[in-house]
Structure formats: C-alpha cells, structure tokens
Amino acid sequence: MIGKGYCVQADLEKKLQAEILGREPGNSILTCIQCGTCSGSCPLADAMDAGPRALFALIRDGQVEQALRSNTSWYCVSCYQCMVQCPQQIPITDIMYLLKQLSLEQGLVPRDNKMPDLYAAFERQVNLFGKVSEALLMADYGIKHPLDVMANAAAAVKLLAKGRLHLVPRKIEAPRRLQAMIDAAGQKEHAR
C-alpha cells in the first residue's frame, strides 16, 4: 500500500481530479462500489502498490498525486480481466491508459518504473521504421537498463542461434510520411 497521503499542491490536485472525474472514461470512477473484483482479478496486483480499487479510492479522495505516482497503471498489462468482471462496468483498463498519460504529462511517473522507458523505446522504433524489430528495441531500451538486457542475454543468444533475431531493421516504405502522420495526430489528449 502507498504510505500516508500528503498534499503538496492542493490546487493542482483538485484540477487533476476534476479532469479525471469530469469526463469519460474517468467519470465512471464515481460509480465504483469498491468491491475489489478488479484487484482480486488482476494478475499483477501483488506487484502494484495499490490495486485498481484502491487507486480509484485515492482519486475519489482527492489524493490524485499519490495515485499518479503509484506504479499501478504502469504495471497494468492490459489483460482486461478486471474490466470484463467489474460489476459496475467501469472501463478500468482504459482508465489505466488515461492515468499513464496524465502521469507522464505531470512528470509524476514513479522513478523506479521501467515501463516508460520501454514504451519510449518502442515509440522511437515506430517513429523511425514504422515497424518494430525486437533486437533493436532491446538495444535501445538497453541503453538505460543494461542489466535487464544482460539478464536476457542467454535467451537472446538462443534466439540468435535459432535464426530468430533480426539485426537489420524492417521498415515500411516511407517512414518519413508516417512520422508526419504521427506528428499531425499527436495533439494532447485533453486539448480536445
């Protein structure tokens, strides 16, 4: 569980809370009955500092900073188990995406979480080539997390031996045009 809450920027928290609860999909948090089905069904709950249920309680309570600093959304692997079982039909997984985006924007990503780096590496691959090649993805991610890559080295060697690692990037025909397309789309979520 997360430690005792403290409010550094009460105003900002209020604003963020209003932003989350003010429209879809976050507004459905208001109907959460705190039953715990989501946390109970989450395969990663043990690793999370708060399960989805507790996270939603924090948000309703106004402890938004804590919620955005929590590792919950980053550990979410989008398995959708919680979402199909939630008795209030709350789109929990979609809310996890929203929280990830907000925590990136607010610079509140938990410091020790590695998923943002992995996602960033992934994004770079897509931007550069339009397709992702595992070896290059690993190499990029490995710049920040060499240990993880080393830990996987044994597997990588095996893969290489089996002809499964491709060191030359696969590309779409015109990555530049794709890049332009992505840029055109990349206005921020709530500027809408």
Binding site: C35, G36, G40, G51, A54, Q85, P87, Q88
Partner: protein
C-alpha cells in the same frame, strides 16, 4: 347537455418545496384567476392535506363553485382525493380536473421561468376543459365473493389462508405438483433458525384442508378477463395421470417405477427421482404426477404400466387429458415468487465445471434433513469439507447480470456460515461487498456468526479455480482482494457456495400481460405506489404478495401476503363496486348504423339494435378504451370524460 354557466375554482399547490420554488405558484394562481369562468384561484402549501381539501370544500360552498381544478401532482396520485373533497361539498366528483405541474413541470424542467410558463399552459388547459365536464352516473355492481391466488409459495399460501379465514372462497393455483415454493426446500430459516418445515408444514396442511380453499396444483392460469369484482379466469389443468380422488398417497408407485434416473428439480439436480413422483415427502397434495416426458409408457411408447399394476387404489389413469376450468372471482392475488439466478454464465465462479461449487439452493438441500445427504454437509466424494467459502452477491449488484441487491442473500449466507460451523466445524470464509442485515434481530445474528469465528472478508470474489497452488491444501482456490487490508488472497478451500440473487419467476412476463400488471426494468411486478400502496396494482382488484414484487425475506413476504388478503377481502366485504363512469355511449340520433364500431371494440361491448338500426353500448362490458369513438365516422360514439369537446378544449387552450 349541461347549460349552466361554469364557476371554476383553481388551486395551485406548492407541494412543500417540490413545486413552489421551481414554479412560481403565486404567478400561476394569478394567471388562473384571470381565465374565463374562474371565480377563485389560490395557491396553498399542501393541497392534499386536510386544510387543503377543506379550502376547496369551503370555496365550493362560499362561492357557489360548480367546477374545480387542482394544479398539483399526477392525477394517478391524488385525483381520487380531490374528487372526494368535491363530493363532500356536494359537487359531482366528475366536475373536477387536475393539472399535473409537479411531475410534468417543476421536477423535469431545468429553468424555472419555463417551468412556470408550462404550468400556466397546463392550468389553462384544465380550466378550459373542466368547463365542459358534467356529472356522470355510475352503478353499483355485485362483487363475486371469491379470490384467485396465483402461486402457491409461502406468499400464496398465507394469502389464501387469510382470505379463506375471512370466509371467502379461494382458488389457489400452483403450477408445480405441490405447494410450498422455495421455502419448502429450506431446513432452517434466519435469523431465528426456526425449522422451515416446522413452521411451514402446518400452513400447507391448513391450505390443503381448508373448507374454503380449493387447491389447484399442477395448474396454470391461461387467461384472465373482466374487471374488479368480476374476473373470469381460464385455468389449464395439466394431466397428472393420477386420479386425485382415488390416490391415497401411499407412494408404492414411486418405489416401483423402473425409470429412476431423472434429475430432481426439487433437489436442485443433486439427486434423482422416478418418472412418477411427488416432489418431496411432505408434499401437499400427496398425489404424485407422472412426468410424461420421461415415463416409458407415455413418452417412449414402451410397455410398462408398473405403477398401475402396483397401485391398489387403481388411481393411475394414463388417459387423462389437459382440461380447462373457468372460474369467476372478485379479486386476484398474484404471488408467483422468484427464481434463483443461474450462475453458469459467470464462468469465473466455475459452477457446472467444478463439482464442489454449489448454488445456495443446492446447499439448502444438502443441509436439509430430507435432502440427498439426510442433512449432512458432505462433499460429493463423501468427505466432510474442512474449509468452505461462501460468495455473496453472485449475479446481484452486477450490471452484467442483476443490477439490484437481492436483499436476502447476505442473511442466508450468514445462516449458511453458522450451519457449516455448527455441523462440520469447518473453517468458513464468507466474502461480501457490504453486509446487509437491516431487520429485527438481524444485526444480532450477524454479530453471533462473527463471534462463531467465521472469516468475513470484505471483497467480491474474482475467481474460483481448480488450480491449486499447494497440492493437498484443498481442491479449489478462491481468489479475491481483502479490500480492508488491500491484499489479494488465494485461498484453498474444499467447497464453494454461491449466494445467488433472486430474479422474477420464469413466465412472469406472461402473468403480467394476462393480468395487466406492469413490470419494472428488472421484471418485478410494479405496485401502485412504492410506499403507500405496496400490495395494490393500477388495476383495481388485482393485488401483489411476496417476491413477485421484489426480493424479500419470509417475514416481509408473509406480512405482504396478509396485507394483500386484507385488501382483497375488504373489497369482497364491501359487496359491490361502483362501475366506471368513463365509458362509451352512442347517440342514437347521430348513429348512421354503419357498424364500424362493432368491429373495433375489443370487448364485444357493442351490439346492434336491428329494430332501431343503431349501435348500442353494453355498459357492463365497456371498458372505456375509446376505440369506437375514434372510429365512428358520424361522431356518434363518445367516451364520457374524454369526449371530443373536452379533448379539443384542452388542445385549444394549450395552443392559444
């Protein structure tokens, strides 16, 4: 036609804070005062209160009013109240009209200016209309002094006994071979842990033997028509293939029947029954039925007849056919109860996949002294469970299934916890979202079960699986978050009980359609008023009792059954009912004899007078639907209180 000059009084209600701040009632009253024929117009805090009604009565006398308009709530709420007030002051109750400015203006309009404007229109319409009202005549018709009760659970049984004790003839129709409903399956009942059979059997026996009660088991109501005081019901009597008059209930036939492997519905499919059966030993009536779909002789055309051979009373009759009965009654009590939610679609709980996952009704049978294990709580392999999980809110409080709280399952889950602890000493883990125990001695029962060492975990179970983390620790694993610690549990257990929710009985929609009762979004029958008329329906003479109106426990069911019987017998005791005044009449001078109306009348209430060559309405049959009026090309047919001038006046005023 009435030629007197209208003198109208208008009363605008504040309804406390329900109308007043949103609708400017003073302004509306002021506006009304300036309308044609209006003599007085007032606003008042609560028109339906005694002083409010007296205000009307006094004004009628003081100002010689001959028409009254009240602008307040829905006429479905208080029309009768104000009509009575008019009558008390000597005015015809039909010289009254209501404008609904609460449900249609103050409560539904965001802007108060617009709400006020709308209220004015509605008042103007009522005023213009009421000018065309005139006194109507009604007749007193005799009430048939008998009651039809549909459904023979504890609700129907109690309602039948209460009405029969009051001296009225009761027909108790139950579609199963015997009466008792769900309660007949239970062993103990919360919160007192009374033995269900001990408190129920006397009732079923009384119902079976009461001189005023005619039990119609294995029967279904297939048609209902008529009106308050005079309902005609068509009843289908399904063939039992056993002559009720000859059968002594000895049970020999059931013992001898060679077809034995039919899952027993009464035992919740935990065990089997023969093709000729009586659901349970204390069944009332005791007469068995042959299940024609499974009997060798009837279904498979094989030679058998073993039952007939052994029946000393010669009661078996393979030639019985379905029969129809017609009965006439003054009132109907609907008591069709509920059915338990089938948890199979909730695959995460493994019902139907894992043998040790039971529904609550199955557990009731497992725990019942007359059930398949003679009341011992055993697993299918015969072992006593060491760890049992009980899961609350299965199906209930879940928008994917039943959105509402089923109200009895927290309590019966506590009952199960106690019984498992008492009978097996097993560890009990009960998983709840909220513990709902609002009732006399219910919280005390909850506390008692807590003290017995039951593990009550606040958290809805996410999954039941046969994946066991440590071999030998149990055959199932229950996965849930304990929301009070924030930790996930993976609990090995031997047995899981699903506390399934309650939903309307199978076939409830048909009953609703037949009786003209409406249902709410979840399928429960709707009462006339949630607080003030909980056993009445909008159709006079039809009443509700028990779980068919919504989930409730036995005490509430019985209370409601007695209330329904009280309402029904009050009606019968009165002896007569006033006929409806709002019926059609045909002006013989205008009727052209085209006969169009005869075709459209759904009640065959119009006949053709060959002598005068005009159509005539039979006012005992007419229900006032107005089909004839809308069809008549000569405008000869008209429904009182809804004639063209009245309706057109209303439209005129709104558009003025």
């Amino acid at each position: 036609m009435n030629r007197e000059i209208p003198r109208i009084g208008v009363y605008v209600c504040h309804c406390g804070m329900n109308i007043a701040p949103q609708v400017d009632v003073e302004q509306v009253a002021g506006f009304a005062g300036r309308l044609e024929h209006v003599v007085v117009a007032r606003d008042y805090k609560f028109m339906c209160s005694n002083p409010g009604q007296e205000l009307i009565e006094d004004d009628i006398k003081a100002h010689n009013l001959n028409r009254v308009v009240v602008a307040s709530c829905s006429p479905r709420m208080h029309e009768a109240t104000f009509r009575k007030a008019c009558q008390k002051a000597g005015l015809s109750p039909y010289n009254f009209q209501m404008a609904n400015i609460r449900e249609q203006a103050s409560w539904v309009t965001a802007d108060s200016g617009r709400a006020t404007a709308k209220a004015k229109d509605l008042v103007a319409a009522a005023v213009r209309r009421v000018a065309f009202h005139h006194p109507l005549q009604t007749r007193q018709v005799e009430v048939n002094k008998s009651v039809l009760v549909i459904g023979g659970g504890i609700a129907g049984i109690q309602a039948a006994i209460s009405a029969a004790d009051a001296g009225y003839k009761v027909y108790l129709v139950e579609r199963e071979p015997s009466i008792g409903g769900h309660m007949a399956k239970f062993d103990k009942t919360f919160p007192t842990l009374d033995c269900a059979a001990c408190i129920m059997t006397p009732k079923t026996v009384i119902a079976g033997q009461h001189e005023n009660i005619e039990l119609l088991t294995y029967c279904e109501v297939v048609g209902l028509e008529g009106f308050v005081g005079n309902y005609k019901a068509r009843i289908l009597k399904k063939p039992r293939y056993v002559d009720e008059d000859k059968c002594t209930g000895c049970g020999t036939c059931m013992e001898k029947c060679p077809t034995r492997k039919i899952p027993s519905g009464f035992e919740e499919n935990l065990t089997f029954r023969p093709a000729i059966y009586s659901p349970f030993p204390q069944a009332v009536p005791k007469t068995p039925v042959i299940d024609a779909d499974n009997c060798r002789l009837l279904a498979k055309n094989k030679r058998c007849g073993v039952c007939a051979k052994f029946c000393e009373a010669d009661a078996i009759d393979f030639n019985q056919e379905p029969r129809h009965l017609e009965i006439t009654v003054g009132a109907v009590i609907v008591a069709t109860g509920f059915s338990a939610f089938d948890p199979s679609p909730m695959v995460q709980y493994g019902y139907g996949l894992y043998p040790e996952v039971y529904t609550s009704l199955q557990f009731e049978r497992l725990n019942n002294a007359t059930g398949p294990t003679a009341g011992r709580i055993l697993m299918k392999d015969g072992r006593v469970p060491r760890k049992v999980a009980i899961i609350h809110c299965v199906g209930s409080r879940d928008k994917n299934h039943l959105p509402y709280c089923s109200r009895v399952c927290c309590m019966y889950s506590l009952k199960f916890s106690h019984l498992v602890r008492e009978k097996t000493g097993a560890e009990v883990w009960s998983f709840y979202i909220d513990m709902r125990s609002p009732g006399k001695l219910y919280e005390e029962f909850y506390n008692r079960v807590q003290a017995e060492g039951v593990h009550l975990v606040r958290g809805k179970v996410a999954m039941v699986t046969d994946i066991v983390d440590q071999p030998g620790s149990g055959n199932l694993t229950v996965v849930a978050e304990n929301t009070l610690t924030g930790r996930n549990l993976r609990l090995p257990v031997d047995m899981v009980i699903l506390s399934v929710g309650l939903q309307p009985a199978r076939g409830a929609e048909e009953v609703a359609r037949m009786t003209g009762i409406s249902t709410d979004g979840d399928g429960w029958f709707t009462e006339l008023h949630a607080k003030l008329a909980p056993v009445n329906t909008p159709t006079a003479g039809i009443f509700l009792a028990g779980c068919c109106q919504g989930p409730k426990d036995i005490p509430d069911t019985v209370a409601q059954a007695m209330a329904a019987a009280g309402q029904a017998t009050a009606l019968l005791a009165k002896g007569t009912v006033e006929t409806q005044a709002e019926i059609s009449s045909i002006d013989p001078d205008t009727c052209s004899g085209c006969r169009s109306c005869l075709e459209v009348c759904p009640y065959n209430a119009i006949y053709f007078d060959e002598g005068r060559r005009v159509a005539v309405v039979n006012d005992a049959l007419c229900q006032g639907c107005g089909s004839c009026a809308a069809t008549c090309p000569s405008s000869a047919a008209a429904v009182a209180q809804f004639n063209d001038r009245q309706v057109m006046a209303e439209i005129d005023a709104i558009l003025a």
